[in-house]
Symmetry: C2
Subunit: 411 residues, 2 copies
Amino acid sequence: MVAEIIAVGSELLTPRRAETNSLFISERLESVGISVRRKMVVGDREEALAESFLSALERSQVVLLSGGLGPTNDDITREAVARALGRPLHLDERILAQLRERYRRYGFEMTENNRRQAEVPEGAEAIPNPRGTAPGIFLREGEKLVFLLPGPPRELNPLMDSEVLPRLRRFLPVSRQFSRQLRVASLAESALDDRVGPLYQAYPEIETTVLSSLGIIDLFFHWRGEPDESRARGRLGRLVDEVRAELGGAVFAEGPEALEAVVGRELAERGLRIATAESCTGGLLGKLLTDVDGSSRYYLGGAVCYSDELKQSLLGVSARTLADHGAVSAETASEMAAGACRLSGAEVGLAVTGIAGPGGGSEEKPVGTVFFGLSLEGRVRSKRFRLPGDRDSVRTRSARMALDWVRRALA
Amino acid sequence: MVAEIIAVGSELLTPRRAETNSLFISERLESVGISVRRKMVVGDREEALAESFLSALERSQVVLLSGGLGPTNDDITREAVARALGRPLHLDERILAQLRERYRRYGFEMTENNRRQAEVPEGAEAIPNPRGTAPGIFLREGEKLVFLLPGPPRELNPLMDSEVLPRLRRFLPVSRQFSRQLRVASLAESALDDRVGPLYQAYPEIETTVLSSLGIIDLFFHWRGEPDESRARGRLGRLVDEVRAELGGAVFAEGPEALEAVVGRELAERGLRIATAESCTGGLLGKLLTDVDGSSRYYLGGAVCYSDELKQSLLGVSARTLADHGAVSAETASEMAAGACRLSGAEVGLAVTGIAGPGGGSEEKPVGTVFFGLSLEGRVRSKRFRLPGDRDSVRTRSARMALDWVRRALA
């Protein structure tokens, strides 16, 4: 089963607005083994949208549209699809009542334009949208399945899980519903493929996809064999076990969990608190740790010490160390990590100092050279890496590699 | 003149790979007044690509394709376009010689497959690519202009400026080449439009586009009138002057400069150094400041104080203040800002403390409540805002709003 995604909205054709709903949608589709064949972004013009929609419907079994369902005149998705399929729009009284109640609750009057959101093409099903006014729409056209979804991610994302996937599953052959995911950190893609390739190649009925992004690699395994549930589960389980055995501690999650959430959970379970000491990452390490809601349970805070003076006064790095080894060195990283513990009382201190570039590199310490320091219950360690990429890549890789070191040290 | 963009590559259909070349391409097209009508992402299948290409060519005057020009078998853009247009591929001897030299220099042997990169459709022009092996290709099909560009941004981006735009300009009416940009911070889009709408509506020959993203609004002005250079420059200049006069200090840049770069430049010019004290942003403020290469000239560092204890021990926030007013309060923000200066010796101290959510809100201080503190050469101020959106939005808006406050305070 293949799908196409059409994102609707003139703002998505402008330079500063990336179309990202399709990433979430394809991730969820991938989780049930449906792959995306083509993506399109079209503006708020009914004719262009109708044409794109019909060509997608001709090619693919599933078509998902996001955006353009709101109450204003440039919201044209509902009308374009209805007209393209020759299905008149009908008012859905249940949705209308929900809309009226919603507007009342927020003290707004419901205008004529707002009523449009309760219109549904003939034979289609309205999908209630608890986080917004515009409901989603599901319809079947012959063998084809069509979903119209609201554009805001906070409305679309929950509907994808609670409404779209269950409907898709009804039409999927059983075999397509089995997949597994492993997430791996601090390993180069080529090194991973050398080790894991021979394993998954022995399972031709499982499709393996390897996706790498700035220090994190995702492995997806999809059952493509005959639709036999117990065989699918058994073979997938065996392959996953083999890959885990080969990669050992490099695997940090089964499923989509973020590295910073895994590290946070491990810290919380052990009752450990962490503090950070950052130079080249400039606060990114703390930002990642606090991306997780509830991170105050284990993250105390830390110091961003861009200047050498602050490394001394805040973190207690010695002048001698800075003079003898430089701010980017194993010795400085170690003292920074120890300093983070000292100033905060945390059991874990994590430090990063490096040269993110583009300036500042030398023969001995080229751009991309990063030192990490880790103080764990009194024991202090350091390590050195040379990371590829531009300033942004080096900083992101550094922060993730630092977090992953904590995870491995706790294992 | 309208354009369509086709990104080629099966990896761009996977969940974790956003298609971003089109953002750069449309920004550059916008700079000469060409707007993008549609974008497509297709996998490495010749038939699908040929179909998408021909439909784009039928609709639009300019078609740009990125990716799929390399030497391997899944690089199919060159062949797909040549075949779709019925133009045989010819070997370009000049490009072949450059390729041979390039491979020799890096000590590789040039295989038969690599020769494919020197093939060009009949009547097309090869565009040398100094940063990679695959050249770009430019061809005219009747009135239509077609560009094939390499996929890696470090190869594509320079070619866009040095090769694509000059060729497009030859075909553009002079009038389309005039545009201006203003960037605005800390203003709601609706408030901005109320103030600025009446101004730009008086210039019907100028197309005004308003783009808003988490606290930053971009205004683009494109000349759409008759092709008269001095009139275009004069009218654009007058409108920009009027908008600047209306918005005053809310405008932080003319052109694409980032807020953090503007703030950094202002600090450096005044010889001021800044330190940060962050709670809810968890390091994001420091991260933004250090996104700028060379930020060590004015950014000393700071403290991420997620816990109340660290707010006291590191930043000197008093236990009394925390008990009486809470960690999220004007008083705490002020003491944090003063503390950042004290611990670092910086002339400017910037603090953020708030409730990013989803948890932690109360009736008095709901999620999105953020207090900012600013210490500038000894004088300490604070302010309170209620910011909309989810955890990520609140944090990003907070960090940008804090930076913008520094900029305004220095003005």
